[in-house]
């Protein structure tokens, strides 16, 4: 009984995205044919350009890293019943804080100290941005979708002001470099990765995913958080302070997104640049949706969207790379639509099997 229900859970978690993927493939086929190309050839090019060589794979790793962070951020919010659309601003704030702190350390400080301090600063900055909508919701009942969206503009505007007026390198929109705080690039270890931006931040992202899984499903705080997300009235009845959980969830969510800023700032360019977060926050929503707000799903979905994004560049010669944007949309729509459908099909299929084997 128990083992069967575990299998059933895995099936219900995995099949909807796979069905969505299949639908996206079919939609892609139609588009490719419309451009007069061979679908098989285009898909093969896409795979070769991403998982087929070390550079492409490195780029997938790099792009997946940020998406894991923002995907986890959105997922944690969803588990608490909150829709955090502010990952974009939280990511940018985290990236800026990492660069800003690293800039202000004396040159003699050991690299590891600067890196750790920058990471803490990134998480704190993201968490602080997350705290505002959390507190507004808990205190005044302000809807987090509105406040997180609006806060994006405020945060990005403020960062733009500070960078342009205070800390930018002349004639650019980025801060000075902080080479001492650099995370190890994989290209430095394995030469095949040369030119790709893959760096040690992916390991931190995977650790963050493990931590989120532990937090959600093993701790008491996670029990309370999921209870609030599922049935706030029951959680309140169970002695959980719903407002506190909302605030805490958005702070952690913001901190996860903020920590994502180190991928670009410490791992790739070694400076904060205006607009680096562009799109990554919103794609995090797609990652959380396709990954069903589960850390394992989020990691897989982040790799999937990173592959599409990098693959778009690889197939640009055959079809316009905007085709990839269309496919992203198709996948998101198909997942959203297929979850209940697939679940229903699975359940009636299982019922039919149960009926045939006569255990009814």
């Amino acid at each position: 009984m128990t083992t069967r229900s575990v299998r059933a859970q895995v099936e219900e978690a995995l099949l909807p995205p796979l069905v969505a993927l299949l639908i996206a493939l079919l939609a892609g086929d139609v588009l490719i044919l419309a451009f007069g190309q061979q679908p098989g050839e285009v898909w093969l090019t896409l795979l070769r350009g991403t998982w087929g060589n070390a550079y492409g794979f490195g780029q997938v790793l790099y792009k997946a890293t940020t998406l894991i962070f923002t995907g986890l951020a959105v997922s944690l919010g969803v588990r608490a019943g909150l829709f955090n659309i502010g990952a974009e601003g939280q990511l940018a704030a985290g990236g800026f804080a990492a660069a800003f702190i690293a800039l202000h350390f004396p040159a003699a400080t050991p690299a590891i100290v600067i890196i750790l301090a920058a990471m803490v600063a990134a998480a704190l900055a993201g968490g602080a941005v997350g705290y505002v909508p959390g507190m507004l919701k808990a205190r005044f009942g302000a809807h987090e979708v509105i406040t997180t969206i609006m806060l994006n503009f405020i945060v990005l505007g403020l960062l733009n002001y500070v960078v342009v007026n205070r800390v930018h390198v002349h004639e650019t929109l980025h801060t000075p470099e902080v080479p001492k705080a650099a995370l190890t690039r994989f290209a430095d270890l394995i030469s095949a990765f040369h030119g790709s931006a893959a760096n040690a931040a992916i390991i931190i992202a995977l650790v963050a995913a493990l931590w989120v899984g532990w937090y959600l499903f093993r701790t008491r705080a996670g029990y309370d958080l999921r209870a609030v997300g599922l049935q706030p009235d029951a959680a309140e009845y169970g002695g959980v302070k719903v407002g506190v959980v909302w605030t805490k969830a958005l702070v952690i969510s913001g901190a996860l997104a903020g920590l994502g800023g180190i991928n670009f700032v410490l791992g790739y360019k070694h400076y904060y640049e205006e607009g680096f977060a562009s799109g990554a926050g919103f794609l995090g929503i797609a990652v959380a949706l396709v990954g069903r707000s589960h850390p394992v799903g989020v990691v897989l979905a982040a790799f999937f969207f990173a592959t599409l994004s990098q693959g778009g560049l690889a197939i640009n010669a055959l079809v316009p790379k905007q085709m990839i944007d269309v496919l992203q949309g198709v996948v998101i729509l198909a997942v959203a639509a297929s979850v209940p459908e697939v679940r229903r099909a699975l359940q009636s299929g299982r019922a039919a099997i149960a009926a045939r084997s006569g255990d009814a």
């Binding site: 008491r220 049935q231 029951a234 009845y237 169970g238 009926a355 009814a360």
Partner: protein
């Protein structure tokens, strides 16, 4: 009987939802012009069968015919066209609109592009008079009492031409006089040639108003009988499959002498969604070893009273104390630690987290005790679950199953097990047997009596007067946010309480309690 004589004939109906077989070969035969009771425990498949009849679901197997015509698998539109209408438990009315506007909604008489209101009022009035409803179609639905709103709901169905009426638990929200009004309406419909199927689990109603009874158990039809030839005990036996002690049937053991105050409420005022004083200066004491029952039509402040005592709703003024210890300003968790247990009225909204496992639900409110460091102690959680599942006979006995998959009675047992297995001195039991089967009612009543006999103070709120009378040592009647009267059990009877529930004694000052 021959199928062509039946208004409704359903044979061998099967319907499966996922892993749940809701109907397994259910039969139903209803003659034209009768009031027919469809009874059974929760989850027996009554509602599914009726939804198939109303065209909401198609059966997996079996046949359905109405007035002799085969209609298996028809649509809701077909059902309405053939005169089959369902009156739902939850009203589907638009409060700011008038009765006439609500009734004609979807088939408004028109004049050009505009609705012909004068004709709508006239038509609705015509149908109302035909069936003996004393109702002014120009009144606003928001101003109606619950009983009146239900009559509008029935009128709506009749207006659409329904002559076969299905009513799903229609008395849950009504006071005894309103129930009597409903019976009058149903009898008049029947005498006018209408056919009525009454889904219910209240056996006194079955005995009072119906002509024939179909009993369902585990998705199948297990008995058919004429009401005049049977007894409530016989119906209950058919529903459960064994003998049961009916509430009210057993003599009440005298409670032990009350030693002191368990729960004291003084001048409590609570703000509600509709009124500023939803609880309007309520005072009472529940002694240790006593069950105080609060009778009243739902929506007279009982929910707000219980939630305020439980810490789920802010108190405007007044105090709540447990054995002399003031808990008015404490959090839910602190109240639990002080000895307060609470069976909430709505287990689907408050009492359970439906997607959590049985084991996880059994620690809700007591998470701290199952935590070491930051993490939950899984072994301890599984252990306590196994123990409580065994002691309270929760089925299926697998703590890893989501609470959602259990029947209503077993879900309620999870709540009971959690609240009553630990140490508590005061229990708030709000609608403790709502939507649970007869077998589970018996069990829950026994648990409540056992708690009383062990010296706990129990505050019982129930919409079922029979339940209040079966369990309470004293009965308080609540109306309009006030306690109208407190009666010792010996003086409490349906005849004494019924009028008080409608506010008949509201003018009189509340007697000082205890």
């Amino acid at each position: 009987m021959a199928p062509e004589n039946s208004a409704i004939l359903m044979t061998g109906v099967q319907k499966r939802f996922g892993a749940v077989q809701a109907n397994r070969g259910a039969d139903l035969s209803v003659l034209p012009g009768e009031v027919h009771a469809l009874v059974g425990e929760n989850g027996a498949g009554k509602s599914t069968l009726m939804r198939i009849l109303a065209g909401l679901y198609a059966p997996d197997a079996g046949t359905v015919s109405v007035n002799g015509k085969p209609v298996t698998g028809w649509s809701t539109a077909d059902a309405i066209a053939a005169g089959v209408g369902m009156v739902h438990q939850h009203f589907m009315l638009v409060p700011p609109l008038t009765i006439a506007e609500n009734v004609v909604l979807g088939r408004e008489p028109r004049r050009g592009l505009a609705i012909d209101m004068a004709r709508a009022v006239l038509e609705v009035k015509g149908v109302a008079e035909q069936f003996g409803f004393a109702i002014d179609p120009r009144r606003c639905v928001a101003d109606l009492s619950v009983g009146e709103a239900q009559r509008v709901e029935i009128l709506k169905t009749l207006f659409r031409g329904a002559r076969i009426l299905i009513l799903d638990e229609p008395t849950a929200v009504l006071s005894p006089p309103e129930i009597q009004d409903l019976w009058r309406v149903l009898r008049r419909l029947r005498d006018g040639g209408g056919t009525i199927v009454l889904i219910t689990h209240k056996l006194d109603e079955v005995m009072e108003v119906t002509d024939r009874i179909t009993v369902m158990r585990h998705g199948a039809t297990v008995a058919r009988m004429a009401t005049k030839d049977t007894t409530p005990a016989e119906i209950a036996r058919a529903m459960v499959g064994r003998d049961v002690v009916l509430p009210g049937g057993a003599p009440i053991p005298p409670s032990r002498t009350t030693a002191g105050a368990g729960l004291t409420v003084r001048d409590l005022v609570v703000k509600g969604p509709r009124r500023d004083r939803e609880v309007d200066g309520v005072s009472f004491v529940v002694g240790t070893g006593e069950i105080l029952g609060i009778a009243g039509v739902e929506g007279n402040g009982q929910t707000e009273l219980i939630e305020a005592i439980a810490g789920l709703r802010p108190v405007t003024s007044g105090t709540v104390s447990l054995g002399g210890f003031d808990i008015t300003r404490l959090s839910v968790q602190e109240r639990g630690a002080a000895g307060l247990a609470h069976i909430p009225e709505d287990r689907h909204r408050r009492g359970l987290i439906l997607d959590y496992s049985i084991a996880d639900n059994l620690i809700l409110g007591d998470q701290a005790r199952y935590t070491t460091g930051a993490t939950l102690d899984r072994a301890k959680i599984t252990g306590q679950a196994a123990e409580k599942i065994k002691r309270f006979d929760i089925r299926p006995p697998d703590g890893s199953l989501p609470a959602r998959t259990l029947s209503g009675g077993n879900q309620q047992k999870i709540v009971i097990a959690r609240e009553m297995a630990g140490n508590f001195s005061v229990l708030l039991a709000s609608q403790p047997t709502r939507g649970v089967d007869v077998g589970a009612i018996e069990f829950i009543h026994a648990e409540l009596r056992a708690a009383r006999d062990a010296g706990k103070a129990v505050l019982l709120v129930s919409a079922e007067l029979t339940e209040i009378l079966a369990l309470s040592d004293r009965v308080a009647v609540m109306y309009g946010g006030r306690i109208v009267k407190v009666l010792p059990r010996a003086e409490a009877s349906i005849d004494a309480i019924g009028p008080l529930m409608t506010g008949a004694g509201a003018g009189a000052p509340a007697e000082p309690a205890a």
